[in-house]
């Protein structure tokens, strides 16, 4: 663990990503302190350009503060990113572990289901799900989880399959240990690194997916989110570019930070990558 942390600290990208994520987290946590007013309220004149009248990032067509929207939007993005990733992990790890450990017909059946979910256009499925169940925090999280678990299941299954055939797992079997002990103590700890890396990348893609849904008008109507602000600013882009630009930058930097962190984790956890191969 210590070596992993040290390797992470040496990776400038991962370090930068972690620091930026901490900042976004702080912004989300203290949004109500920084901007006591609701982000939905009119705070000033419509279309105030950035820097004027004390609006750091300007106002939108209804005079709402873009900076406040971004701060409150950070809550939504991080919350949905984290919760939907946890839900997807729960489905993916469960099914993947079952398929990889059990093998045979169960594996076959579960993998067909996983393949099916990977084949169908996931974004359209998410749109249809949220539209039919009407947009809310729960339906958005559910839709994102349903379209993002297949890669987890595949990775976990592959790990379980290779680990199951490894001699130390067979040795545990020969020792007469219970299935639970073999899965929890022998297989899972060794399958964890790729799952951790995947999880950080999944939070990133969940944030992207949520922003796309909100952009299409499928966000929770009670929650201010980054995608919603961009969607609202879209029709007035000729008048007020800042309404669309700044929330986009917020999404970009957050997702970039998560990707950098994920790559750093991947390199730190995979000793093969740590050395770096040269062509």
């Amino acid at each position: 663990m210590r070596t992993v942390l040290r390797a992470m600290a040496r990776n400038r990208g991962a370090l930068g990503g972690a620091i930026f994520l901490a900042l976004v987290l702080a912004l989300a946590a203290f949004a109500h302190v920084l901007f006591p007013q609701s982000p939905w309220d009119m705070a000033g004149a419509p279309f105030t350009p950035p820097g004027q009248d004390g609006f750091l990032l300007g106002t939108d067509s209804l005079g709402r503060d873009v900076a406040a929207g971004i701060a409150y939007g950070a809550r939504v993005s991080l919350l949905i990113g984290a919760v939907s990733t946890l839900a997807a992990l729960a489905i993916g790890v469960g099914l993947g572990a079952l398929a990889g450990y059990a093998g045979g017909l169960i594996d076959d059946a579960l993998m067909r289901v996983t393949e099916f979910f990977q084949t169908i256009p996931s974004f359209i499925l998410a749109v249809v799900l949220v539209a039919i169940f009407s947009p809310s925090l729960a339906s958005i999280v559910g839709a994102i989880a349903i379209v993002s678990w297949p890669p987890v299941a595949r990775v976990v299954r592959a790990e379980f399959r290779t680990l199951r055939a490894r001699e130390f797992v067979q040795a545990a079997e020969v020792q007469g240990r219970s299935r639970a002990s073999i899965v929890c103590r022998e297989i899972l700890p060794n399958a964890l690194p790729p799952i951790v890396v995947l999880a950080s990348l999944m939070v990133a893609s969940a944030i992207l997916l949520e922003s796309a849904l909100s952009f299409l008008g499928l966000g929770d109507p009670n929650l201010m989110s980054w995608g919603f602000i961009i969607g609202a600013g879209r029709s007035v882009i000729q008048l007020a570019w800042w309404v669309s630009v700044f929330p986009g930058i917020a999404i970009f930097l957050t997702v970039l930070a998560l990707n950098l962190l994920g790559e750093g984790l991947g390199e730190a956890l995979d000793p093969r990558l740590r050395q770096g191969t040269r062509l």
Binding site: F116, I132, S244, I251, T277
Partner: protein
Amino acid sequence: MSSSPDLAANVPAPSASLQAGLARSLLGLALRGAARLAKMLAVLLAIAIVNFLLIHLAPGDPATVLAGQSGAADPQFIAQLRHSFGLDRPLLVQLWLYLRHIAMLDLGTSYTQDRPVLGLILDRLPATLLLTGAAFAFALIAGIALGALAARRAGKATDTAVTILALAFYATPIFWVGLMLVLVFSVWLGWLPSFGMETVGAGYRGLDHWLDVGRYLILPALTLGLFYMAVYARLTRAAMVEVAGQDFIRTARAKGLTEGRILRRHILRNALLPVVTFAGIQAGQLIGGSVLVEAVFAWPGIGQLAFNALLARDYPVLLGVFLCTAAMVVVFNLATDLLYRLIDPRMAP
């Protein structure tokens, strides 16, 4: 050429065995083809079932979902739907009736446009195919080129630049890239049109028409393609670096081949396999992304159709688009699978 007797005697045997071998491999090919086809149909059936479940899981009366929820639908129409889909009969019968509708290519009627959904989709399909095709071609070519460049100069400034570029496009929301391109190239610079597929009322014909469409195509195709370019560039780089470390590359060096030939003939060819596979799997994502891009650029494809249906809660259209895009992905996957078999001799029958 004079044929000696024993040579002539030998002829039938190999040709017979050749024929048998050919027959066997043809049979294998046919079986494999049948298997693929069966799998394809199974996926389509599963998608239809998912659609059916969505209609029934939705809050409220399935009939109103089928009719389009927000439309204050006329009670007679609702009653007719209820009868035609057997909504008062057991669930399995309903499923059967629904599947029969789908099998007869009846995807329902759009209440907003008062037209069969299938017709709406077929009208819009060419525009979407043009957009996704252009974006895919751009993404694949640019992505592989960039990835190969980065791998060739691994560890140097070029590699870092490509890696950063790829990482950046990988982290940017597609719709926002579209908006920014519009802002820069249409609003500020005025170089390219920002929405639509052709200049309305210009009445261009022939080549002029295509050039016109081409101008409209650039921004949406770039928007959709840049993200996937980033994906393919990263993938190509990683695959090439991995292949470069393999034993047969050392063999190639030991043979005294030039680095250029090793790169082209040995590294690149092997590295492209995972990229092609992944590109095939990603086809569904590309079509999904086109919904966003078409919404941003008002590109008159099925994505925009879905977006408008979404705004009007016109569910039959939305579900029809879902079904059709999924079918397109299945067909596309089949094509990649065949391509893969052509490239990789280990997969040959």
